[in-house]
C-alpha cells in the first residue's frame, strides 16, 4: 500500500470511552476482507510514588509536530505491514486513573500482521510523538511522567 492518506485527527479531549471503542469495532463489520483485529489500550495507572497515589494525568502536546509525526508513523506502518485499516486516538487534557488515554486499532486479513503492527505502532508513538504527561497526585502535587 503506497497511496498517501490524508491526516486523520488523533487527539481527543479527555478520556477515550469504552463506548467509543465499541462503536469503532462495530464499524469494521462491513469490511469482510478483515480476519484479525488487534487493539491496544493505554490506561492511566494509580501508581504509588513515595506514599502518594496518582489520581490523573494531564496530557499536553506540541500538536503541530505530534500530528505530523502521527501521520508519518501511519504511513510507515502501512508500508511495513499488510493492513486493511488503522486508527490512532490519544487524549489531551485530564484523564483519571482507570480511564483510557491511548487507543490504537489495526486490522488485516491475517493475524501475523496485526501482532507485528500493533507493537511497532505503540512503541513508535511512545518514542517519537511529543506528548507530555503531568501526573497529578491526590494531594494536588504533581510530577512529570517520562516513558520508559
Amino acid at each position: 500500500m503506497t497511496k498517501e492518506r490524508k491526516p486523520k485527527p488523533v487527539f481527543i479531549e479527555g478520556a477515550i470511552s469504552a463506548e467509543f471503542i465499541g462503536n469503532s469495532i462495530a464499524k469494521h463489520q462491513s469490511k469482510t476482507t478483515i480476519g484479525a483485529h488487534d487493539i491496544f489500550l493505554g490506561q492511566v495507572r494509580a501508581d504509588q510514588i513515595e506514599g502518594k497515589t496518582v489520581k490523573a494525568i494531564e496530557y499536553t502536546a506540541y500538536e503541530d509536530m505530534a500530528n505530523s509525526k502521527f501521520h508519518d508513523i501511519r504511513e510507515a506502518t502501512f508500508k511495513k505491514f499488510n493492513l486493511t485499516c488503522m486508527h490512532i486516538y490519544h487524549s489531551l487534557g485530564t484523564v483519571k486513573a482507570g480511564e483510557i488515554c491511548l487507543f490504537v486499532f489495526v486490522s488485516s486479513p491475517r493475524r501475523v500482521d496485526v501482532f507485528n503492527a500493533i507493537e511497532y505502532l505503540v512503541n513508535t508513538i511512545k518514542e517519537q510523538v511529543p506528548i507530555f504527561g503531568k501526573e497529578i497526585f491526590e494531594d494536588q502535587s504533581h510530577q512529570w511522567k517520562v516513558n520508559s
Binding site: H90, V129, F132, W144, N147
Partner: protein, 77 residues
C-alpha cells in the same frame, strides 16, 4: 534575527514561560543555548531536545528558523 522560543511540559513549568521572543545574532543551537541558560539557569539541569521545523537539531546545527521549540522527554500513551 528575532526568535520565538516555545517551551512544553515541565520546561514551561520551570521557566514559567510557554513562549517568548528574543533577538539572536546568527549562530548554532549551542550558541542559542548559552543565551537561554543565562535567562533560565534552571534549564541547564534538565533533559530536553531542540526542534526547528518540527525536526530535532543537534548542538552544532545552525539556527535558521524563527521558531525554536524546547521539548522535554515524551510521555505519550
Amino acid at each position: 534575527m528575532t526568535l520565538k522560543i516555545k517551551y512544553f511540559g515541565m520546561l514551561a513549568e520551570i521557566t514559567q514561560c510557554e513562549e517568548e521572543t528574543l533577538s539572536f545574532s546568527k549562530g548554532t543551537a549551542a550558541d542559542l543555548l548559552k543565551v537561554l541558560f543565562e535567562k533560565h539557569p534552571i534549564l541547564e539541569e534538565k533533559e530536553f531536545q531542540i526542534a526547528q521545523n518540527q525536526t530535532f537539531i543537534s548542538n552544532d546545527s545552525i539556527i535558521s528558523n524563527a521558531e525554536i521549540v524546547l521539548l522535554p522527554p515524551f510521555a505519550g500513551g
